[in-house]
Symmetry: C2
Subunit: 422 residues, 2 copies
């Protein structure tokens, strides 16, 4: 009988071996019962980096997630360190503290096996699938905005003690290879003919024009510099509609294995990009109520930013206990810090729009496209929609500081959605 | 006989114990000879945090620097971790690689004793003393500018491999208490009545007006956020005219125990502040050739920035081997990256001017004033000169983006030097 423990060498789980190997984990027995014969295991991982199993018994259910030592998308030719499970574990515990109930509860963590046993969200499904099939989620924008604001604020030196924050920066600085994926695939590869790139063939002229834009490349690289060096807060690092699970009325965030310290605008920017990609891809998925559903997606984008700003202002006035913009310097002197808060929010906003534009580009031009566009089989239809998406991204990167409000952002998306670029 | 080793508990050296305690260090015997009777020890530390000894024999000389477990300036009531010697050691080795010959060579390091034995620069003296007594140093600005550019560029992801840079960020993130001194004393305390503050009494109205400026406090706090979170490169962290030793023709940089990762504009900004404080304080030190000497100081400021920019551009075109602004994206595509380099330099410039202004404030308003002003005994004279210095700092912080060139900066200093504020 194999007992899982920190002394055993790493070995990938399979549905057959899982019950035996996890039979002695107390946290699992509590959730599923002692009789492993009754544990039903289903492999559900559709990600690229991990094994994911749902384990159910008459008593309960859990998710077992185990990191793989390579990127599945490109076979085992791209090795990837197992220690990312360690960072996912640490990220999940911090997210749970900073926005309780927003992420799966952890039942068990085994560092050597790169394995986390956690809460199974049911009947939640991956948000991206809902957006492709045209389903709405009540309160989605507000949940996302509030979550991003809490993570941004409470993980920064606006809130944390500097010594704790610096120790955490040191911890997460060990997560080198995972951020390197983002650094290459997101910020650099889309803008030249990198080996692993691909795009819809009809986009050739659009792509050529984009890659000839030297100002664009300069700005994107300045955002890469921020992403790599500006350790303002702990990021999810890969917050897209595939990292959110929702029912009709409830949403949860999963998969923070790309966690790192980075700029406050990153997560909300990446997430906004994924909403906007859902928006621009809709004509490839439906004719009925197209306008109504697209309008709903844009309302999510707006709600998300409005909720972010509202929650951030609230935390600014109630939880500003870190060394930045201290009350000793403002309120205690009879000086309002509201203006300072608006400046900080303004910087987050322009950063977010630029990260958003970059994510919109890379999902059409680099490795790892997303299903919003990829599932549109007619490539001429797909290319036409992707072209709008690329133009929106370009506009956000170049002109982020010319948009003032979430309404401006939604208005720009509506305008570009009506353009015939290809 | 006490033998110094990593197993011994920390014990502060004194001139009497030093030869015996270091008698078995091979590197010292090589420099000074085996006969410790011939080792002449002189305590020279005038710093606040360390013991510093010159040890000389007929054969040679060395500096022995040992960290103290508290800040001397305020007695032993402010404990300070000994591990800063560890960071000084690591900083010195990196500085020696990145700008060979600019810093003392290390002969021996003992982590437990928080002790570094290193090259003794002679006949060099502390630059601040030269600036107070009115001596010039040939090539000073060029040396400083080139040094800052090499440190900024070669310690960043413009040059370094990201994995190496991230490992280094993690290493230096352990240096919490030392940056905390800067965070408090430099960025926050000057702008309210902090307990350890002091200023020349005649400055009261100027100080009151400064502390009532909410926009100023907001901008300074945004610079603190950059200082604390923007890990662009390894900083010296405390580069002022007391951290430079010069002869008439040669300069060297010492004392990087405040090393941390931070923004590229920080070191050159702090150093510029110290040149400008030397400039504004001159009327308190001499009447003869006042204008000539002040003109020379401003030429150092200009030379420093010109050399920084020239060296940075040179490294940009010859050593850009990191992930930021990669040649694959620019030169390899037939696209110039010169414009990108100018944008990066532009950001360094405005950051530097703001850090400069903040340093000019804190040296008159917070703890740890400097001798340029402090040694002017007539407080009404001192206050008049400090008032100009404070106004210059204010102008730099508020209007950094309105100055374009080192000549503009020098021009502003000349203008404010003629104002009667008090």
């Amino acid at each position: 009988m194999t007992q899982l423990g920190t002394q055993s060498a790493y070995l990938a789980l399979c549905p057959q071996s899982l019950p035996t190997r996890l039979a002695h984990v107390v946290a699992l027995i509590k959730k599923l019962g002692e009789d492993v014969q009754q544990w039903h295991v289903k492999e559900v991982g559709d990600g690229n980096l991990n094994l994911v199993f749902i384990v159910q018994s008459p008593k309960g259910s859990v998710i077992v997630k185990q990191a793989l030592p390579y990127v599945r998308l490109v076979g085992d030719s791209w090795p990837l360190p197992l220690y990312r499970a360690f960072y996912e574990y640490h990220a999940l515990t911090r997210q749970a503290q900073r926005d309780p109930g927003s992420v799966p509860e952890i039942y068990y963590f085994d560092e050597t096996q790169a394995l986390i046993v956690m809460e199974f969200f049911t009947p939640h499904v991956i948000l991206r699938n809902k957006l492709i099939t045209g389903e709405t989620v009540e309160g989605l924008g507000e949940f996302c905005g509030k979550h991003c604001a809490r993570m941004a604020f409470r993980g920064s030196e606006l809130s944390m003690q500097s010594s704790d924050k610096k120790a955490d920066v040191a911890l997460f600085a060990g997560n080198v290879e995972i951020p390197a994926i983002t650094e290459g695939l997101v910020f650099t590869d889309p803008y030249f003919e990198a080996a692993m790139n691909s795009h819809t063939p009809e986009l050739d002229p659009v792509v050529a024009q984009l890659r000839a834009n030297v100002d664009l490349k300069r700005i994107v690289q300045s955002m890469l510099a921020k992403f790599a060096s500006n350790t303002e807060t702990m990021l999810h690092g890969d917050l897209h509609s595939g990292s959110i699970m929702s029912t009709e009325t409830e949403s949860r965030v999963i998969d923070p294995e790309f966690a790192q310290y980075g700029p406050m605008g990153f997560d909300i920017g990446m997430l906004t990009a994924n909403f906007l990609m859902a928006f621009f891809s809709q004509p490839g998925h439906r004719k009925d109520d197209l306008v109504g559903y697209q309008t709903w997606i844009l309302s999510v984008v707006k709600d998300c930013f409005v909720a972010f700003q509202k929650e951030f202002r609230h935390l600014w006035s109630t939880e500003r206990t870190g060394m930045l913009y201290p009350k000793t310097l403002f309120e205690d002197q009879g000086h309002s810090s509201e203006n300072a808060c608006e400046f900080v929010l303004g910087n987050i906003w322009t950063d977010a729009l630029r990260f958003c534009g970059i994510e919109m580009h890379r999902r059409c031009l680099s490795l790892a496209h997303n299903a919003d566009f990829e599932s549109i089989e007619d490539t001429s239809v797909r290319a036409r929609l992707e072209a709008r998406n690329i133009e929106m991204g370009l506009s956000l990167i170049l002109n982020a500081d010319m948009l003032s409000t979430p309404q401006d952002l939604a208005g720009l998306a509506r305008k570009i959605n009506e353009k015939d670029i290809l």
